[in-house]
Each structure stands twice: as C-alpha cells, then as structure tokens.
C-alpha cells in the first residue's frame, strides 16, 4: 500500500472515492428520466464558470458551481416551457457555455491552455486540502438529496404526470435534481474533467442495469462500480504514467462490457425459466377448449 503514503495521493483517493459514490447516485435518476446526457450539457456550461473564475481571479471551482447550477436551472426551465424547440435551445446553451469558457480563459492573465486542459480532463494530483473540504461539503449535499429523497425522486423520474397527481412538488424536485447534477459535475471536474464527467454519471448505471432487475439494486451496484473504477483508476495512474480521468472512464466501460457479456447467459436462463412456466399454462388449454385440429380428428 505504498501509494497511500504521499499526502497528494491521500487527497486524490479521497476525492476519487467521493466522486465515485456521488456521480452514479445522481446519474441513476438522470438515466431513469432518459436524460443521460444532461451531465454532459452541464459540463459544457461549467466551462464558462471556470473561465469566469480565472478572469475574476476567484476560485474556479466555486465559480463553476455557481454557473453550472444556473445553467442547470435554465435547462429545467427550457424543459418546462419550450418543449417544441427544446433541443435547439439546449444546444445553444451547451456550445455557448463551452465557447464562453474558452474565450474567458484566454482573456484572463492567469489562465492558459494548460490550465484549461486540467479542467477539461481533470488533474487529480493537484487537489489541495481546501479543495477536499469543499468536495466533502458538496458530496454530503448530493448524498443527502439522492438518498434522503430517493422515493420521491424515483416517483418523479419514473412517471412525472403520475407524480404530480400524487401531490409531489414535481417542479421543485426536478430543479433539485438539476442543481444536484450541477454540483456533482463541478465536484467531479477535478477527478475526471468536464468532458468526461457525464461518463461517470452514466456508465456505472448502464453497467449495473445489465444484471439488475430492480431500481434499488441498480442504485447500489452503480455506486459500487463507480467507487471501484475511480479507486482503481487513481491507483493505476500512480504507478503508470496515464491520466487518471481517462483511465477511470475506460475502466468503467470495461466493467460495462464485462457485465453485458455476463448478462447474456443470465437473461437466456431467465427466459428459459419463464418459457417453461408458460408451457405449463398452455397445457391446460386443450382440456378447457379443444383446439381446432383436435376437432378434425
């Protein structure tokens, strides 16, 4: 366990574990609502926040959080009011956010392309103890929402119209999911980078649902997968000179492929079992009502 010795590694591992837990816990609701790419959109918007942080010489993390939250709220509003051309409006928001970020970073004195790259693809080894404090706070908020309100969020993500008729505050809950996703994006920004954030929210969930049959198991399994790949990716990048963000995402995809291969025989045996069950049922039919060819005999 030599990799645990350097303090930067301890901070990196802590940040990675937190992201591995919270990203799938938000992502599962996004996937359930069939908005798997929402995290990607928020990541693009957060770029403007990073640029603004450099330009104003304030903390890019907090600035990115503020801009990402604002962007996520605007995305929710577009979803409510502009259903017809919602996709176009979202595209404007995504690419506007990305372009704004690049422009602002170039305008600032402290920003450089190297800085930009560290936010686009993550820079786990430069996580400071201040960063750890803010990451812990934000992660606690995310977990409070995704675990504490799991029944409500499940209902809203499963069937929005029905949730409204059960009296749930659907708009408030949707906004909360959007804000939570935005917070998760900015937390994960340091670990995997803005361009790969969405992968960590979606791929563990996609992998988990290959073998799970319930929401609860999907949730737990995706968090386990998320934590495992972020830890493994971080440790790998300590021994081999590879970028942690990309390693983590590729590991997650490897898990997805492995579980998919595993799921195929599993599904086949389940199908065989239910087929056997339905055969038992059809055997009763000739007794109650003779089949046409039986009559002919």
């Amino acid at each position: 366990m030599e990799f645990l010795d350097p303090p930067f590694m301890q901070r990196a591992l802590l940040a990675a574990v937190l992201v591995g837990v919270i990203a799938p816990s938000v992502g599962v609701y996004l996937v359930q609502r069939r908005q798997a790419l929402m995290g990607d959109g928020i990541g693009h918007i957060a770029m403007t926040g990073v640029g603004l942080g450099f330009l104003l010489s304030t903390s890019p993390v907090w600035m990115a959080t503020a801009v990402a939250v604002a962007g996520a709220v605007v995305m929710e509003l577009i979803r409510w009011y502009g259903r017809t051309r919602g996709d176009i409006a979202l595209a404007m928001l995504f690419y506007g956010g990305m372009a704004g970020g690049v422009l602002l970073i170039n305008l600032s004195d402290t920003g450089s392309n190297a800085n930009l790259t560290s936010y686009l693809f993550g820079s786990l080894s430069t996580v400071s103890s201040e960063d750890i404090t803010s990451i812990c706070l934000l992660a606690a908020f995310v977990l409070l929402v995704t675990l504490g309100l799991r029944r409500q969020l499940f209902a809203v993500s499963q069937d929005e119209e029905f949730a409204r008729v059960t009296g749930l505050p659907v708009r408030a809950l949707n906004l909360l999911v959007a804000v939570t996703a935005a917070v998760t994006v900015t937390v994960a920004m340091r670990v995997v980078g803005l361009l790969l954030v969405s992968a960590l929210m979606v791929v563990p969930v996609a992998a988990a649902q290959q073998i799970s049959r319930s929401f609860r198991v999907t949730f737990v399994l995706s968090v386990v997968i998320g934590t495992a790949v972020t830890l493994a990716g971080t440790v790998t990048s300590y021994y081999q000179d590879v970028p942690p963000g990309a390693t983590i995402v590729l590991l997650a995809i490897a898990v997805f492929v492995a579980l998919t291969l595993l799921a195929t025989p599993l599904a086949r045996s389940r199908a065989r079992r239910s087929e056997a069950a339905s055969e038992e049922c059809t055997l009763e039919v000739p007794a109650s009502r003779p089949a046409p060819d039986e009559l002919r005999v």
Partner: protein, 260 residues
C-alpha cells in the same frame, strides 16, 4: 378505505362550463360533468372528442381556458388531498430508463399517504394488497419491462390503488389489454366499487366493464351529447373497430328498418 354504504349524493368531482384548447383548436367547449360519491361514470366518445382532455383537466394536467374544476368540494387550485385520488394514465408502459420491480413502481403510488416518503409497515401492507388485487403477487419482484401490455396496465392500476383512493380516475384502462387481464381488471374494479369507491373512466367502448357502469357521458367535438344510463345500442356499436358513437338522445333513434 372508502366508507361502505355511503350513498349521499355528495359531488366528488365537478367540472363546470369547462373549455380547453390544444394549440388553437378548441377541445372542450363548455362541459358540465358532476360525479357523485359511489357512482361509476364512463366518459365515452370517438377519438378526438375530448374525453381524455376532460379527465386530464380534472387532475390539473391540462389547463382550462374557462370554467372550473372542483374535487371533493374544493377548487382544484386549492385541492391538496391527492391521496383521495387514484389516477391511471393512458400509457402503454410503466417502465422508465432504469429497471424497476412491480413492487417499486406500485410503492410510488403510496407516497401520497406517507410523510416525507417514509414507508412504514402499514404502507407495505397496502402495497402488497394492491399488487394482490390485480393478481400479480407472485411477480412482485419482477421488473416491469418484462411484462405484457395487459400486465403493465394492471401494475398502473395497482399503483393507483396503493393509496387506497376514494375516487379512481382511469384513462382508457382497457386499451391494448389482453382478455385475461381485462377480466382481472373488471373484477378489481368491481371490488373497489363494492367497497364504495367512486370511479370515472375514459372508455372507447363499454366492453367487459358494461355491467359496472351506472352512467355514461358521451362526448362529441368537445360537447356533452348524452348523460345518463349507458345507451344500450352503444353496447353493440362499440365493438372494436367501431369508431362512431351514436348519441341517441341528440339524434333520435336510428331508423334501421328492422323494427318498423
């Protein structure tokens, strides 16, 4: 559970002078519709007659451009007793983007009876009862995306029943449902009605539910054309494939030459 034997004519749901538009097209053109406690009312009509819009406006899913809605004597805007209403949307599937079991989906219908979403033992029992009612007890742990159309519909009805509602609102519960499921649904509904529930159904045809229905409201082009006992002729005319409803009250008996 609803009180048994309460036959007071208290209006459970009232739609007065309701108008609504979809885009620029008027869909409801001044509908008056009152459902009293213990009644089983069916809203009938051809496609595009406004029957779905009418029920969806009752639960606030379609905004009215005029008129008013009252639920249990409270204007919709101030209505908060959502646990008293069980809603079955017109849907072909109960599945979302992530696998979920029948029990998980049905449990979401119980939330209106819980505080802060805490599921207690009584809530679990109610969910079990609802699943049992629609005959899916042995499949409660199965994912909903592995079910047939009729079974999906049964899950959606169990979800509505989980809150033990006084008023059941169902939008085309029989659409795309196989015969076996139709019979289970009719039996479930019969049980609810016997226990005192009020039911408002949107139907394309009376079908196997016919003996249960006290009152039929026939809509055409956003107007009420018939309101009373289910028209007998409708039973024969409303076979699958028949898109037309003949509101006899408005047009008089159809002269077929068979009776004269």
């Amino acid at each position: 559970m609803p009180e048994t034997g309460s036959t007071t004519a208290e209006p459970v749901m009232a739609l007065r002078g309701a108008t609504a538009t979809l885009g620029a097209r008027p869909v409801l053109r001044g509908i008056d519709l009152t459902v009293h406690r213990g009644e089983v009312a069916a809203l009938l009509g051809a496609n595009g007659s406004g029957k779905s819009t009418a029920v969806r406006s009752v639960i606030g899913q379609v905004p009215l451009t005029g008129g008013s809605v009252e639920l249990f004597g409270t204007p919709l805007r101030r209505f908060r007793g959502w646990a008293r209403i069980g809603y079955v949307p017109q849907r072909t599937t109960a599945a979302g983007g992530v696998p979920a079991t029948i029990r998980e989906v049905v449990t979401s219908g119980r939330l209106s009876r819980t505080r802060l979403g805490l599921i207690r033992r009584a809530d679990r029992a109610a969910v079990d009862r609802a699943i049992e009612l629609v005959g899916l007890a042995d499949r409660a742990k199965d994912p909903v995306d592995a079910l047939s159309g009729g079974q999906h519909q049964r899950v959606l009805i169990a979800r509505a029943l989980a809150a033990e509602p006084e008023l059941l609102i169902m939008d085309e519960p029989m659409a795309g449902v196989d015969l076996a499921s139709q019979e289970i649904l009719a039996a479930t509904l019969r049980e609810q009605v016997a226990a005192g529930a009020t039911v408002l159904l949107v139907l394309h045809e009376l079908g196997p539910l016919e003996p249960l229905i006290d009152r039929a409201i026939v809509l055409r082009d956003g107007c009420v054309m018939h309101d009373g006992p289910p028209p007998k002729a409708l039973g024969q005319h409303a076979l699958p494939g028949h898109d037309h409803v003949h509101p006899h009250a408005a047009t008089g008996p159809v002269r077929t030459g068979l009776l004269s």
